[in-house]
Symmetry: C2
Subunit: 424 residues, 2 copies
C-alpha cells in the first residue's frame, strides 16, 4: 500500500521528493475571468460568484459587528479558554520576532538606518474546511496585531446558510481583526486586491487556501499586492531511528493525512525493524480515526525510505524541504539544527506536530511543496516592511563626493553626479 | 510643461499618485511561450531567444572563470577603489540587518525558537542599460554574500559582441558571485526558475528589470520560486518648504529622470516662491545634462503639488509610497520619521539620492509604483528565510494536552488529538 524504498541513490531523490502535481498556470483563465468581473462589477460580482461556487445567495457581504460580538455565545467556554491560551503563546513568539531599527555610520557624517513599519492594510484569508478552522484565524491575525497593522480584514467563505461559523468570528474578534467578509475563493482574493464597494483594497494578502485561492494570490501579485507565500497540500516528513516509538511514528504519519487526500507523509528511517513495527501500528490505529477514508486515500502519496546513514537523511530532508519535519531520534537536537529547509521542525518524539498546529507558539501557516527552500513560515515580519533612511551632513558630502562623481560618470549618469557635487 | 496642482482635495490624490501604466498581465502569453521553450529545449532555447531579443549569437552561456578574473585589467583603478568602498558600506548595513535566533518558552516544558537560514541558491539579475550597471551588481550580491547563501549566480544580457562589460564582471567577482551567465530578459528568468544544462535552478530571483523581466519574475512564482519584489520605473518625491535650496531641488528632480523616459519626479511643497525659483533652475540646469533628451521626455510624467500644510504633505507621501523621497525641509528628521511607506528616505538637503544609489550603505533595489506599501527594499533578510523549531518535554505534554484535545476535536481532527494524547 505504502511504497518502501531502500537506500535510494541520489538520482532517485527528485522522484522521492515529488509532490502531488498542481499546475497553477492552468487555472489562470478562470482566475483572470473572476478578477475582471470583480473589477467591473464589484460587490455584484462577489455575490454572483458566491452563488456559483459556494451555492449560497448572500445579501450583505460584511458581517455586522453585532454578529461578531455575539459569536461568543455559541461556542463552549472551554474553547474560549483554549483560544485565549493560544493567543498568548502566539503573541509571545510574535513579540520575540520584533526587529528594532538598525543604524550604521559607514563614513564620517553619513548615517544610514533601516526601520520596520507595519503594513497599513492587510487581508487575511481562511478557507472553508469540513470544520471551522478557527486556529488558522489565530495564526494569521495575532502576528498582524502584534505588528500593529491598523487595518486587518478577514475573508472566509460562507456556509450553506450564508453564515460564517461563530468560532471563526470569535477567534477573529479576539485577535484584533477589524472587519470580516463572507466571501471565499478567487472572488475573495480579487476583492482584497482590487477593492469593491464593501471590501477595501489591501496591500498584502495572507493565508492558506485551495489551488484556486493559491493561483488567485499569485495573480494578485501582478497588481502589486504582496502575498505571504504560495500554499499547497500539507505534508510531514518523519525521521526515525531504532530508538523511536513506532506507535507514535504511526499516529504522526496518519494524522497528517487527515487534512485531505492530497496530503503527504514521508517516513525516512535508519531502522528496518522500525518499518516492520510501523506497519503493524498503522493497521491498528487507522481504524480508530473518524476520517479514515480520507486518510486511506492519502496513503498513495506516502513513501517510506530506508537510509543507512543519518547524514544522508538530513541531506534528503534539506532537499525535500518539508512543511513539517519531526525527529524521532536519539540525537534529535543535533539533527534538527542541521535542517535549513523546512517550515517547522519538531525536535524529539514528545514534540507533536499537533502542538505547533494549535498552541505552542510556532505558526502553522507554512511553506509547502518544497517552497521552504526560499520562503518563511508566517511570522511577525510577514506584516512589516523595511524602509531605508539616511542623513548626510557636510562632512559626509565631502567624504563621498569623489566616489559618487566617478561611479555616476562611469554609468553615464552625469545628472546624478551633478546632483551630488552641487552639495559641495 | 510640468503640471502644477494647488491644494488638491483628497479625491484627486489617486490621480496625483498614478504611475505610468504597465499592464503586466498583457505580457503573460509572451512570458509563457519563453518558459515553455526553456523547459523543453534548455540551453538551445536560451541561445535562440538571445539571438531574437538581444541580436547576438552566443556560444557558451556561462562566462568562463578566467574572463571574470581578468576583468579587473579593463577598468580604472579609481573605480576599483570606489567598488571596494561601496562593498564596505553595504557589508556594514547587511551585517547590521542580521537577525539572531529568537526563543520563547510559553509553557513549562515547551520551547519554541525561530531561526534565520540563508537561502541555498539565489539568482541575481542585472539589466542591460545604456551603461554597465555595476552598482546594481553590488546592491544585489553583497547582502547575499553576508547572508551566507552558498550559491549565488548572476545573469546579465550580453552586448552586441556577446560579452558582459568588465565592470559588471569585476563587481560580481569582488562581491562573491559564484557564476555568471550571459543571458537576459524573460529567458534568463525562465532559466533560473526551471534550470537548464548550463544554468542551475535557484530558489529565489532578485533584481530589477524591464517590464518583461518583471512579468517573468511574477510568472516564476507560479513555480514556487521566490522573488524579491515587483519592479517598475524609478521615481522620486521631493518635499520642500520655503527654506529649501531651489537649485538642489531642481537638480534632484531632473537627475531622477536620467533613468529613462518613464521615470517620475514629484515636487510637493508648502512654498509658492520655491515653485517659481524651481522652474528657473530647471531651465538653467537641464541644458547641462548629457541625457537631456531622455530627461525632457520624462517631464510629462512629473507633477508639482502645492499644499498649505506639511501634515497633508506627509499623508500624501504615505499614500503615494514613493521609491525615493527626499526632505528639503527645516524639520526634516521629524518629517522623515513620519514616513511609513517608501523605499528609501533622504533626510535633509545634503542627503542626495545619488549617495543611496551608489555608496552610503542603503540599497538601491527598492519597491516602486506604490509597492512600498507592502514590500521592503532589498536587504539581508531578502536572502534568508525563517524556520520554526520546537522541543517539548513530558511536562510540556501535560501542560498542553487538554487544550489540544479540545481544539483538535472542535476542528474535527481527532487523529491530531490522538497523536498528542498518545504522548501522555
Amino acid at each position: 500500500m505504502i511504497k518502501v524504498f531502500e537506500n535510494p541513490g541520489a538520482a532517485e531523490w527528485s522522484e522521492l521528493a515529488r509532490r502531488p502535481h498542481i499546475d497553477l498556470t492552468s487555472m489562470l483563465d478562470t482566475v483572470k475571468e473572476v478578477f475582471d468581473a470583480v473589477r467591473s462589477s464589484g460587490d455584484d460580482a462577489l455575490r454572483q460568484y458566491t452563488l456559483k461556487y459556494d451555492n449560497v445567495s448572500i445579501d450583505s457581504i460584511a458581517v455586522p459587528d453585532d454578529e461578531i460580538e455575539a459569536a461568543g455565545q455559541y461556542i463552549p467556554d472551554g474553547l474560549k479558554h483554549d483560544i485565549e491560551t493560544a493567543i498568548g503563546s502566539l503573541r509571545a513568539m510574535s513579540k520575540a520576532q520584533y526587529q528594532p531599527r538598525v543604524e550604521v555610520e559607514p563614513f564620517d557624517g553619513v548615517r544610514c538606518w533601516y526601520d520596520y513599519k507595519p503594513i497599513d492594510k492587510v487581508g487575511l484569508y481562511v478557507p472553508a474546511g469540513s470544520a471551522p478552522l478557527f486556529s488558522s484565524v489565530l495564526m494569521l491575525a495575532v502576528p498582524a496585531s502584534v505588528a500593529g497593522c491598523p487595518e486587518k480584514i478577514l475573508c472566509a467563505p460562507p456556509d450553506k446558510d450564508g453564515r460564517i461559523n461563530p468560532a471563526i468570528l470569535y477567534a477573529a474578534g479576539q485577535s484584533g481583526v477589524n472587519k470580516i467578509f463572507r466571501i471565499g475563493g478567487i472572488q475573495a482574493i480579487a476583492a482584497m486586491t482590487l477593492g469593491t464597494e464593501s471590501v477595501p483594497q489591501v496591500y498584502k494578502i495572507c493565508g492558506p487556501g485551495n489551488r484556486y485561492v493559491t493561483a488567485a494570490k499569485q495573480f494578485a501579485t501582478f497588481f502589486g499586492t504582496a502575498i505571504d507565500m504560495p500554499a499547497g497540500p500539507s505534508e510531514l516528513m518523519i525521521v526515525a531511528d531504532g530508538e523511536a516509538d513506532p506507535s507514535l511514528v504511526a499516529i504522526d504519519f496518519l494524522s497528517q493525512l487527515e487534512h485531505g487526500p492530497d496530503s503527504q507523509s514521508l517516513l525516512v528511517t535508519t531502522s528496518k525493524t522500525l518499518i516492520e513495527d510501523f506497519f503493524k501500528w498503522v493497521d491498528e490505529q487507522i481504524v480508530m480515526l473518524s476520517r479514515r477514508e480520507i486518510v486511506k486515500r492519502g496513503l498513495s502519496n506516502c513513501r517510506i525510505i530506508y537510509m543507512e546513514d543519518m547524514q544522508q537523511v538530513i541531506d534528503f530532508a534539506n532537499f525535500y524541504a518539508p512543511e513539517h519535519i519531526i525527529f524521532h531520534t536519539e540525537n534529535c537536537r543535533e539533527h534538527a539544527e542541521a535542517i535549513r529547509n523546512a517550515g517547522s521542525v519538531f525536535v524529539g518524539g514528545r514534540s507533536s506536530v499537533s502542538a505547533g498546529d494549535y498552541i505552542s507558539g510556532s505558526n502553522h501557516v507554512l511553506p509547502t511543496g518544497g517552497y521552504a527552500k526560499g520562503f518563511s513560515g508566517l511570522n511577525l515580519q510577514t506584516y512589516m516592511h523595511g524602509v531605508y533612511y539616511q542623513a548626510i551632513d557636510n562632512s559626509g558630502v565631502i567624504e563621498l563626493a569623489g566616489h559618487i562623481y566617478s561611479m555616476a560618470h562611469f554609468e553615464g549618469l552625469d545628472g546624478h553626479s551633478m546632483a551630488f557635487t552641487s552639495r559641495l
